[in-house]
């Protein structure tokens, strides 16, 4: 795998990943930030391919670029009225300082220690091996992860749906049956009306 193609790919993709990560920071609008994020995910998936981890790369594209990307877009759509600008708090300066200190330490550690790297051959087929590892040696974490996912899903639904059954929702939309799906809810522009007060 160490042909000149891989090195070229590595430099290109890491530039893409770091560039789009910076893009999130500097994007003017929220939605541009999400698109830069998804580009960063894609860049990272490419880096995984250069490390000949094909299953992980495809899983990354599927879970992150596909699902989490759409999830974040939905979240932005459901909170349309919050300021869409991508403005920062006063913590920009100190934030940068802390972040650069942390990453500086990591870079120092990475470059100084000599990892006992043995030039290992690449693995053409990783899917089969990951599958056997997951179902034999790491069976318990595999089951725990599935329980965690279900808990997260139920939690998310309860959180969002509970917020929707407040009384004023019901008299507002007349007695039609509840929302068909979040897609419709996302279509609505929501305005803050402080004037309602208690009634």
């Amino acid at each position: 795998m160490d042909g000149f193609g891989v090195t070229a790919a590595f430099w290109g993709l890491s530039a893409l990943a770091v560039g789009s990560a910076l893009g999130i920071m500097l994007a003017r609008s929220l939605l541009h930030a999400v698109l830069w994020l998804i580009l960063a995910f894609a860049g990272l998936a490419g880096l995984f391919v250069t490390l000949s981890a094909d299953f992980v790369a495809v899983a990354q594209v599927l879970v992150y670029a596909g699902a989490v990307g759409v999830l974040v877009v939905f979240a932005i759509m459901l909170t349309p009225n919050s300021q869409t600008g991508n403005s920062e708090t006063r913590m920009v300066g100190p934030g940068l300082f802390v972040a650069s200190v942390v990453s500086g330490i990591m870079v120092y550690i990475a470059t100084q220690t000599d990892w006992s790297t043995a030039a290992r051959g690449d693995f053409p087929a990783t899917a089969l091996e990951i599958g056997t590892a997951l179902t034999n040696r790491y069976l318990l974490p595999f089951e725990v992860a599935s329980v965690l996912l279900i808990a997260a899903m139920v939690g998310a639904i309860v959180l969002v749906r509970a917020a929707r059954d407040e009384p004023e929702r019901r008299e507002l939309a007349g007695e039609g049956e509840g929302e068909v799906n979040t897609a419709e809810a996302a279509g609505r522009e929501v305005v803050a009306a402080g004037s309602h007060g208690g009634h």
């Binding site: 042909g3 541009h32 299953f55 594209v61 599927l62 670029a65 596909g66 759409v70 053409p124 007695e175």
Partner: protein
């Protein structure tokens, strides 16, 4: 796979290519061979897509015309063959507008990004014996992963057009594609469990070694994948995203000129690729019962691909459109549970097969069991949910005399107050 057979053997186009690469490597120019093989793959996909797109526009318009007992385009060129070219030129010279308040960058980027999933999926599909651009070990997962990026791009188009209809269209697409991605993944899962590998080449080899097509062994996943893929590319009963009669043209309302042409072309390309995927997963890809010894394998694959594509055009010509909540309800209530049940069934069968390590002939009883269970599952499930006979056609009463025949009560949801007449 007689890959290293003499290079002029055109039964698989891989032979001349490998001949060329072998010759290059003998000369020691490995880098050049590396670049040449990459560019040949890319050129193959690009050429195939370009030619297929133009041909498909003509095929689709003629077939739909025949369904509607009219003739279809026959003015431009012999039998209208140059009509797609005329369309392309017309679209190119049209002014492509950008909505002022819309998001210019995202608006301009969306049609380009829409092509990426299409082209990447083609990279994994085996067009013939050994003719795969990159036969990935994780082929099936790759197709699903690339497909899952599509709703995002559609949302970019819908959101940046700053138009109510496109926003509605984008929202509908995301809801539709997300809820139909699950049944599609589940049905492909049962195919992978049966064939034991995610590599598309291996799936075809499995069907070749046991000289059977997967459609005989897995009828239910075939049906579920058919419906789910129809919904994912948004065609015929599911073209809810760009429902002309309801939301003008959905997410590509604001697009004009060649940008609209790209949207239209991607829809055709998606239909063709789904036809190809059908051929690979359920109809044995290029392998058709030893016919590929005589006829070149890639010709057979194209025929199957076009048959799959023709199925979609036929559906487009006849079936009306579903409403968004009906289609979502159908997916969650019907397709997902059936798909899960089927995966369990197939897993059980494969486990039994490995336990007994019986010869391949055991697939025959499996096929019979699967077909019976499919029928039983569908009928039982419909009866369980008491869905049958909800939609029976009605007959009218024909009377001679004048007067009120039946009283129709006012529906609660609509605006009538109980007393009839204009509401409060």
């Amino acid at each position: 796979m007689n890959v290293l057979a003499n290079w002029w053997d055109l039964r698989s186009l891989a032979n001349p290519v490998n001949g060329l690469l072998g010759w290059l490597r003998d000369k020691g120019w490995d880098e050049i061979a590396y670049i040449v093989s990459g560019s040949i793959g890319a050129a193959a996909i690009g050429l195939f897509l370009g030619v297929a797109m133009l041909a498909l526009i003509w095929v689709e318009r003629r077939v739909i015309a025949r369904i509607q007992i009219r003739r279809g385009p026959n003015r431009v060129g012999p039998q209208g063959l140059l009509q797609p070219v005329a369309d392309a030129i017309k679209l190119m010279q049209k002014e492509s507008l950008t909505p002022r308040l819309g998001d210019k960058w995202v608006f301009w980027l969306a049609p380009l990004l829409l092509f990426i999933p299409t082209v990447l999926t083609l990279g994994v599909v085996p067009f013939g014996d050994g003719m795969t651009v990159a036969d990935l070990n994780v082929g099936v997962l790759f197709i699903i992963a690339v497909g899952s990026v599509m709703p995002l791009v559609v949302f970019m188009a819908g959101w940046s057009s700053n138009n109510k209809y496109s926003l509605l269209g984008a929202m509908r697409t995301i809801a539709m594609v997300l809820s139909y991605e699950l049944p599609a993944v589940i049905s492909l899962l049962s195919v992978v469990v049966l064939t034991g590998s995610m590599q598309l080449g291996e799936i075809i080899n499995f069907q070749k070694d046991h000289n059977t097509w997967n459609v005989f062994l897995l009828p239910l996943p075939f049906a579920i994948y058919l419906i789910a893929s129809l919904a994912e590319i948004g065609r015929s009963p599911y073209d809810i995203a760009e429902a002309e009669s309801e939301i003008v043209a959905g997410y590509h309302t604001e697009y004009s000129g060649m940008k609209f042409g790209l949207f239209y072309a991607v829809e055709l390309a998606n239909a063709l690729i789904i036809g190809g995927l059908f051929a690979v997963f359920f109809f044995g890809g290029w392998w058709t019962y030893y016919l590929d010894v005589i006829i070149p394998s890639w010709v057979l694959f194209f025929v199957k691909m076009l048959l799959g594509y023709w199925l979609f055009v036929w559906a487009r010509g006849t079936v009306p459109r579903l409403r968004i909540d009906q289609s979502l309800k159908f997916s969650w209530q019907f397709l997902v549970p059936m798909g899960l049940l089927n995966v369990v069934l197939v897993a059980f069968e494969v486990a039994l097969w490995y336990q007994l390590d019986a010869p391949g002939i055991i697939l025959a009883p499996f096929a019979v069991i699967n077909w019976l269970l499919t029928a039983g599952l569908i009928v039982g499930y419909v009866r369980l949910l008491k869905l049958e006979h909800t939609q029976t056609p009605r007959r009218l009463t024909l009377t001679e005399d004048v007067g009120i025949v039946t009283h129709v009560p006012a529906p609660s949801a609509a605006g009538y107050s109980a007393a009839g007449g204009s509401p409060a």
